[in-house]
């Protein structure tokens, strides 16, 4: 957005907020390229931990995998000592991508351009013609390979879930996640994991609209007719939202419904004039939660600031990484998982139930459309125009033991504003 008088990019300041509780979110935050640039600096290159992948994806020494932190391409790999190391996938010489494959197994990583060779921890270990040929040419005496390694990425593993940070200012991962989030990671990941596959989806919208989507309980059973029709997730079921003390991460959860509760739910929706289709599935197992080690929560969606979403919908389990691609596009990279000790029947049940998630998901496909139509229609709104976020009331940001709320969306904006340095006076945190 340009300043009307000077033509210069308009500064992004705390004045952007009309309310200090984030119950009005200006559309400009979704569209302005200057905001996006600020996010790359202050969030993605800043003091946050970004979900980058799973230890189960690199089980053997030498296994590597490509990922991103924000727009920065990274590689994580398992070193001889069993530890996961990560580095920015950009050669210290001319800036070429060192590792072009997305996954594989390697002792070292060699850039194809001039064959600079790097160890798994990113250290530069080979420079061809460093001393020139027959004493002529080559690098000068003051050239020290120690100064030209790959940029290291800080790594933390929480129950095999890998987080990376580009900033030395990021607080330790335990304090970043807080006390309430790790048990939800433990619940899902503290077992031998089997990778079932990947989904990718490109949406013409802003990444923040998408990461706020699972925080918005309001839409789940209204946009997603499949949920309401077949009963996997309803606003009327017992559930709620739980946040860390800084309110930047959250879990939205719902308990399995019994028959009586299903019937009450149908009445509730009818009284709100939200029609059900009366359809029945020929293959009902796709919407059935078969309680396994995950207990009696049929839905639990964990959002970790900024772009990580871990979801359990019935027996379908996945980790999503939202990868921004500019202010107007992002990728959703989703890793579908099961467990090594799942029976073949349970694996098949999970894969069948994965039909509800991802770009073709019977539930989740609609999020792609919702985010795109919101992005399209709000793009040219005048400055000051804002969306409304106040289900469950405005004001203080706090946990709720009911589902009809979108309070954790305000938690997202609160921490976002802190990082960008644009908190309004008297801001809720």
């Amino acid at each position: 957005m340009l300043d009307f008088q000077t033509g210069a990019p308009k500064a992004v300041t705390s004045a952007i907020w009309q309310r200090n509780d984030y119950s009005r979110v200006p559309y400009r935050l979704y569209h302005d390229p200057a905001v996006y640039e600020l996010e790359l600096q202050k969030i993605f290159a800043g003091p946050i931990w970004s979900f980058i992948g799973l230890e189960a994806e690199v089980p053997k020494v030498g296994d590597f995998r490509a990922s991103y932190i924000g727009r920065t391409p990274i590689i994580f790999n398992r070193d001889e000592d069993g530890q996961i190391k990560a580095f920015v996938n950009r050669c210290g010489h001319r800036g070429a991508m060192v590792r072009r494959e997305l996954s594989g197994n390697a002792k070292t990583h060699t850039c194809i351009y001039h064959q600079w060779c790097f160890a798994r921890d990113g250290k530069l270990v080979g420079v061809p013609f460093r001393r020139g040929v027959k004493g002529q040419g080559g690098f000068g005496k003051d050239f020290d390979p120690a100064n030209h390694g790959l940029r290291k990425v800080r790594i933390a593993s929480v129950y095999g879930v890998l987080f990376g940070s580009l900033s030395s200012d990021a607080e330790p991962i335990d304090s970043y996640l807080g006390e309430k989030m790790p048990p939800y990671l433990k619940r899902i990941f503290d077992y031998p994991i089997r990778i079932l596959g990947y989904h990718r989806q490109r949406i013409r919208g802003n990444w923040k609209a998408y990461v706020c989507n699972p925080r918005d309980n309001y839409h789940a059973s209204l946009l997603h007719d499949f949920f309401r029709t077949y009963g996997l997730d309803r606003t009327s079921q017992i559930g709620g939202v739980t946040m860390d003390t800084r309110h930047r991460h959250c879990v939205t959860w719902g308990r399995t419904e019994d028959e009586a509760s299903h019937a009450r739910s149908r009445e509730t929706y009818a009284s709100e004039n939200v029609a059900g289709s009366g359809l029945k599935l020929r293959e009902p197992s796709i919407s059935e939660y078969k309680p396994d080690r995950l207990g009696d929560l049929s839905v639990a969606i964990l959002s970790i600031f900024p772009t990580c979403i871990i979801q359990q919908i019935g027996n379908s389990i996945a980790a999503r990484q939202v990868r921004p691609r500019g202010p107007d596009e992002f990728e959703i990279f989703q890793t579908l998982i099961g467990y090594e000790d799942d029976s073949p029947e349970l694996t098949l049940h999970r894969i069948r139930q994965d039909n509800v998630v991802g770009p073709a998901g019977l539930v989740s496909m609609e999020d792609g459309e919702a985010v795109e139509i919101a992005h399209r229609a709000s793009k040219h709104e005048p400055e000051g125009a804002a969306e409304v976020v106040e289900l469950g009331g405005a004001g203080p940001i706090s946990d709720r033991d009911y589902r009809a709320n979108d309070v954790t969306v305000r938690g997202f904006w609160s921490y976002y504003s802190q990082l960008l340095g644009i908190e309004p006076p008297g801001a809720e945190r």
């Binding site: 894969i351 496909m365 792609g368």
Partner: protein, 155 residues
């Protein structure tokens, strides 16, 4: 041209035409009583990973998917256009044919802008019965696995 090849071409032409014209019940009618329909990203196929974008391993699941598309799902309003390439018949075993055919689907949105939506390879098992050739297994290997927006209508 062999009779098999002609029949396969006819089936693929009907397949694309029914899909593009929203005739999903007729499209379903091309599948055998016992059938599967899977759309799997090439990155999963290449790594031997089983999960798909659409994974219907029974006719009941495929019928649910189509009924949900017709009555429940909300998706971007668009027109599909299948461009199905020349089929290659890999093996013929009495009444069963294994066929591969490259395909592309272009999507056009309401204001007339078109994008290449999907491209990949059909790997089909076809069954010959009294009514002609039917699809008993269809694996859509999706080269373009970074799905633009969403995947609702069948590939």
């Amino acid at each position: 041209m062999s009779a098999d090849l002609l029949d396969v071409c006819r089936l693929l032409a009907d397949y694309g035409w029914f899909a593009d014209n929203g005739k999903y019940d007729e499209w379903l009618g091309l599948f055998a009583k016992d059938c599967s329909y899977k759309v799997v990203p090439k990155e999963n196929v290449d790594r031997g990973l089983p999960a798909g974008l659409i994974f219907c391993d029974s006719r009941a699941m495929l019928e649910d998917r189509i009924e949900t598309l017709q009555k429940v799902s909300k998706y971007n309003i668009h027109t599909d256009r299948h461009i199905i390439g020349l089929p290659r018949i890999a093996t013929v075993n009495s009444d069963t044919l294994l066929v591969e055919a490259p395909f592309s689907v272009f999507q056009t949105e309401q204001e007339g802008d078109t994008r290449l939506f999907a491209t990949g390879l059909y790997r089909d098992q076809l069954q010959r019965n009294s009514k002609g050739l039917m699809v008993s297994q269809k694996l859509v290997v999706l080269d373009s696995f970074a799905i633009p927006t969403l995947l609702a209508t069948p590939l």
